[in-house]
Symmetry: C2
Subunit: 321 residues, 2 copies
């Protein structure tokens, strides 16, 4: 939510000259994306987002992200897509940072998704999974079980400062997930961070997905588990089974979930809850006073984790499909 | 440089329904303006800036600012202008804050202004002064001599923490300015904060002025003094007399400065330097750890003040007009 790198008018004019997109007419830093610097850029031809990738992004992963967005776009999945410069590169450098000029996606993120939004989300997620099936690259999910193990080790000393007893909860949950994490589910490219901020709607219709910078290769159903956590809980921490039912229905209409995936859903949801609990806890414990970043509340995901711990089987998610 | 108030998609859709500007297609918080929250807003008809006025702005002053922008726009001074809603109001409420929908001004602020930019700035500033002459409202400059006196009192205890000896410098300068501040110069509406961030250029031509939220009634030549401080010093603190000459020439071509104004220029420049030194010092002394605001360096304006203290007469500003 911040502009980490200031780009001057002189720098942006020089940068844009290497693209065939017209002249810059407006250029404003925007408060979007928690990891990167983003600018809204308007030229005489069109609008764009200029993204500068900051230190937390591994530059080696960028060709995967760019290639994926490009691939999905060619498969008619509406998403922001990197534009190629005159020499054909979709990833260049600006102010010493990797930079990409991305097409501007109309629409707005919805703060309080309704069941119909969840249904549309499910359908688009499934379409994305199918469209990515023949994408030629892969990227390991460094925020799956072994990543959680590292994060638990990094956070266990401070965890109880965040919530009493949290350290024990983390250790027990990690141990449960290590013993029970599935290994035989359908795999493919997943978005892995499809929070409501990353899904745009226009006049009530889903208009596109953004922010593919956690995309990786993992169980397809894990992507549903991430969405279940971020779309189907109310602000008071209660689980909205109508929303999860619609999410699963929307998905299933496009790509049928198999029995193993359904059976694994409660475990996948616990994993997804732990993943966001751990990264938020890490950021909370390592927050820098004065940094222009809002630290999100880790305990929101502790509440969600506890809900999933109580789930006996996937029918608790309203599954009737 | 921050989004202080988060407006949801639901709230902006409801807000925009009271204007005749089409449907919202995009809405993004932008890092512009240090006092207010600004959003870039694109509708099916046009682009806008949505401004939410935060606590530091006195709501009683808003009709003056809105009226001024409206007045200037009707006089062909290109500036962002408030749009009226269906019931004719150019100032409404959103998320409990005064809010205005402002036309979107094309162009970009220039980081390193060149002499030609300064000349264009001077001309536009003079045109703005002339165009505002028949604006019916007025607003006292609360950041002139009596305002500085208050700020010196608020800051003197902490000043030396910022720069050794600063407290004494502030007291002496205030006492000099109280004794020497002019009282008989041509008055009118001034912008009072016309830093390079607030002036847009498009393909090298000045395309408009923004951020009228310090505008007030004061000596017209004081506006030049503010620009002299913010446009004519180099990053190393040196004064660029070529730029100041062009600024004054550009102004004088449109509105001839009289002898009293020229004679007062060194004093006005000292006043303008003290004004920004004091507000920056106040913000520096009262900075909140963790606040998402970048505190600007007060000593930049101490260097500028010292330069003007050494100026004997306006010819030091390259005045040959």
């Amino acid at each position: 939510m911040a502009v980490y790198t200031q780009v001057t008018a002189e720098e942006i004019n020089e940068f844009i000259a290497s693209y065939d997109v017209g002249e810059v007419v407006s250029f404003k830093g925007i408060a979007e994306g928690s990891e990167n610097t983003n600018y809204y850029l308007q030229t005489t031809q069109a609008s764009f987002i200029l993204t500068l990738f900051e230190a937390r992004v591994n530059p080696d992963d960028l060709p995967f992200y760019m290639g994926l967005m490009d691939h999905l776009n060619h498969k008619d999945i509406v998403c922001a897509t990197p534009v190629r410069d005159r020499s054909g590169r979709n990833l260049t450098t600006l102010c010493g940072r990797p930079a990409a000029l991305i097409t501007f996606l109309q629409g707005m993120a919805i703060n309080k998704p309704q069941p119909d939004h969840c249904r549309q989300l499910g359908g688009e997620l499934a379409r994305m999974h199918l469209a990515a099936a023949d994408f030629g690259m892969s990227r390991e999910n460094d925020l799956s079980v072994s990543g959680w193990e590292k994060l638990v080790a990094d956070c266990e000393d401070g965890a109880d400062r965040c919530a009493p007893g949290l350290c024990g909860t983390l250790r027990q949950e990690l141990s449960f997930l290590k013993a029970n994490w599935p290994d035989d589910l359908p795999r493919g490219i997943i978005h892995a961070d499809l929070f409501p901020d990353n899904v745009f709607f226009l006049e009530g219709k889903l208009s596109g997905l953004i922010d593919y910078y956690f995309a990786c290769t993992d169980f397809l159903a894990y992507d549903i588990a991430v969405c279940m956590n971020s779309w189907c809980f109310e602000a008071d921490g209660s689980f909205n089974v109508t929303k999860s039912t619609q999410l699963l229905k929307g998905y299933n209409e496009v790509r049928q979930l198999d029995e193993r995936e359904l059976a694994a859903l409660p475990t996948l949801c616990r994993g997804a809850a732990l993943r966001f609990l751990l990264t938020r806890l890490y950021d909370w414990l390592n927050r820098v006073e004065g940094a222009m970043v809002q630290v999100k509340d880790p305990t929101e995901y502790l509440t969600k984790l506890k809900f999933h711990q109580g789930v006996k089987n996937a029918s608790a998610y309203g599954l009737d499909i």
